[in-house]
């Protein structure tokens, strides 16, 4: 490990009784130490020809923390050393969280890029054997659009109206009950939402009926509480005086809500809905149970037959396990991530562009 490069400077004077200053590590110490640790560790690893990015990062971090804490404990005293130790930990935690984000995005981009082209996006898997070097995700994109679209059509009216009810009408016990159960609904595991629709379909249509509508309903169960929560928050931001001004003009309550409250919060509601869509568009488990996992051809009909979707496509390709299947899975993952990111950024931009000035 690196030892010589940065000897803590300054004489070893313990803090004198009345002095406000005590010996401290120079300001450039952390930067200089980090750089020299990185360099020395890289050198040692290369010398043993076992250079790996993860190993290098870990050893650099470890040697940095050890040297910092030791030097600080000797020069600055125990309390300062603890403080520096925690500071390194906290920075480390953050880097630790960013690492998987970067890694996921990078591996998906690198592995998915080759197959991600116009052909892949515009053909289905109809007539393609799993091991053939052909086929694409068009049918899955169609399915994702149809299923998510229907789920949105179901959950937005219910979610927004429930939020209106909670903010504008409900009082006391019923309000608490609904709020509580919306929270409960937020916690339903997605696979359970899928099983619910399976059970419902068995009662309604008998066993073995798999179609897009079933998938859409299971996604709606997951989406409704998210829409309620975000809409509720947005409606609460509408200032009280705006409502009162409207009432004072003799406008009935429902018109006040539809003409004043909802338009005022429209941007926020849109943001919330888009984030909810972004959340359910990647849901896989319920769709495996409800919309099937073996469709290969384009199906626009939500009420008849299995329907492929992007997430289920990724899953079923991985289950097949061949090299070309993995290539398709990565390319489909790239498609899905780009879609989700697009929704995410659009939502943020709408939220920021139309944010009421007072809410800041």
């Amino acid at each position: 490990m690196s030892t010589t490069t940065t000897q803590p400077p300054g004489p070893e004077t313990g803090p004198t009784e009345a002095a406000l200053r005590h010996a401290s590590l120079p300001r450039y110490f952390p930067t200089a130490l980090l750089a020299s640790c990185a360099a020395v560790v890289a050198g040692v690893l290369l010398a043993f020809s076992s250079f790996g990015a993860i190993l290098w990062a870990l050893l650099t971090a470890a040697s940095y923390v050890v040297i910092t804490v030791t030097a600080s404990a000797r020069v600055e005293g125990g309390r300062k050393a603890t403080d520096r130790f925690v500071t390194s930990l906290v920075y480390g935690c953050f880097l630790l969280a960013i690492a998987p984000l970067v890694s996921v995005l990078w591996t998906v981009l690198r592995n998915g890029f080759d197959r991600f082209d116009g052909y892949f996006l515009s053909v289905s898997m109809n007539g393609v054997l799993p091991s053939m070097d052909a086929g694409g995700v068009y049918h899955a994109i169609v399915g994702t659009l149809a299923i998510t679209g229907m789920a949105t059509l179901i959950s937005v009216p219910i979610g927004v109206m429930t939020a209106v009810y909670l903010v504008e009408y409900a009082r006391g016990r019923i309000k608490r009950v609904i709020t509580f159960f919306v929270d409960v609904m937020t916690g339903i595991p997605s696979i359970v939402a899928g099983l619910f629709v399976v059970a419902l379909w068995m009662v309604l249509f008998g066993p073995g009926h798999t179609n897009g509508a079933a998938g859409a309903i299971s996604l709606a169960v997951l989406m409704i509480p998210v829409v309620v929560r975000s809409s509720e928050e947005m409606l609460r931001l509408v200032p009280r005086d705006l409502r009162e001004a409207s009432y004072a003009l003799g406008v009935p309550r429902w018109r006040t809500i539809t003409r004043v409250v909802l338009p005022t919060s429209a941007a926020g509601l849109t943001t919330g809905i888009m984030l909810a869509i972004a959340r359910v568009i990647g849901e896989t488990a319920p769709l495996i149970l409800t919309a099937g996992s073996s469709a290969v051809s384009i199906n626009w009909n939500l009420f008849d037959g299995q329907m492929m979707s992007l997430p289920v496509f990724i899953y079923s390709q991985v289950r097949m396990g061949g090299a070309v299947n993995y290539e398709r899975a990565w390319a489909a993952a790239l498609t899905l991530i780009l879609t989700v990111m697009l929704l995410f950024f659009l939502a943020r931009m709408i939220g920021r562009a139309f944010a009421p000035k007072s809410a800041r």
């Binding site: 406000l20 200053r21 309390r79 300062k80």
Partner: protein, 259 residues
């Protein structure tokens, strides 16, 4: 224990905005110095620069010299953490740690410097500090109850005990009575009288009667104009400041309020 503070040419900035301009003053040890002035004139901001608490506000910084006896608290290598254990502070709103008992509140700061304090040492320090804050008799039977159960005035005295337990040489008080009823205020004012035996005390107050009652010297701050920085207008013996101020501005402020 108590130390003298010498301020020379101190400017305080919030980012680009100059909040306090060119303050120089001497604060005598074992005395009470009051800062008075209208709201927003920078007296609280200035007070916070005396133990570098202003640095907690993002973008705030100070230029100039503040000597504590002979040591510049803005000198190179000076650790704000050590400055603050030497210059304690009591805030406008009593802020005992809500999750800690009365006992733990008092001992919290002292424990930072001395982890291995023995049980009896700690007990002694708690009793001494609470007695010093005139609170011992009221709480000695419930030391291990939460501090948030006390009345507002008791909480503020608990905060004073917590500050003195660290054994600082200076105590800064930022409108310590503004949230208290008259009786609690009186208790705190009595306490300030006792504390000046051992500490250098600086108190910011909006209440001029209070400044007249508790302080030995008074400093008057005012804005140079709307949107302009705050300045020290005049400083002197409290008696003289309230009877024969040198500056017209001071007289206007004092008479305007005193009627």
């Amino acid at each position: 224990m108590a130390k003298r503070i010498d301020v020379s040419g101190l400017h305080v900035y919030y980012g680009d905005f100059l909040a306090v301009e060119d303050v120089s003053m001497t604060i005598e040890p074992r005395s009470v110095t009051a800062f008075i002035g209208s709201s927003g004139c920078g007296k609280s901001t200035f007070l916070r620069t005396l133990n570098r608490m202003h640095e907690v506000t993002p973008g705030a910084y100070a230029r100039g010299k503040v000597l504590l006896d002979d040591l510049d608290i803005y000198g190179p290598d000076v650790d704000p953490v050590l400055v603050r254990s030497e210059v304690g502070m009591v805030f406008q709103k009593a802020n005992p740690f809500p999750t800690m008992s009365i006992y733990d509140n008092v001992i919290a700061g002292a424990k930072l410097n001395n982890r291995r304090m023995s049980r009896s040492e700690a007990d002694d320090l708690v009793e001494e500090s609470l007695r010093g804050a005139n609170l011992w008799e009221e709480v000695k039977d419930r030391l291990h109850k939460p501090g948030s159960g006390l009345s507002g005035g008791q909480q503020q005295r608990l905060c004073i005990a917590r500050a003195t337990a660290v054994k600082p040489s200076v105590l800064l008080m930022d409108e310590p009575c503004s949230a208290l009823d008259p009786i609690s205020t009186l208790a705190i004012e009595d306490l300030i009288h006792q504390l000046k035996e051992d500490y250098t005390i600086v108190i910011v107050t909006h209440n001029m009667q209070q400044a007249a009652r508790v302080s030995d010297r008074t400093a008057f701050f005012n804005l140079a104009g709307p949107g302009k920085p705050g300045r020290l207008i005049e400083m002197g013996e409290t008696n003289q400041m309230f009877t024969r101020p040198e500056k017209k501005e001071t007289e206007n402020y004092i008479t305007g309020r005193f009627g």
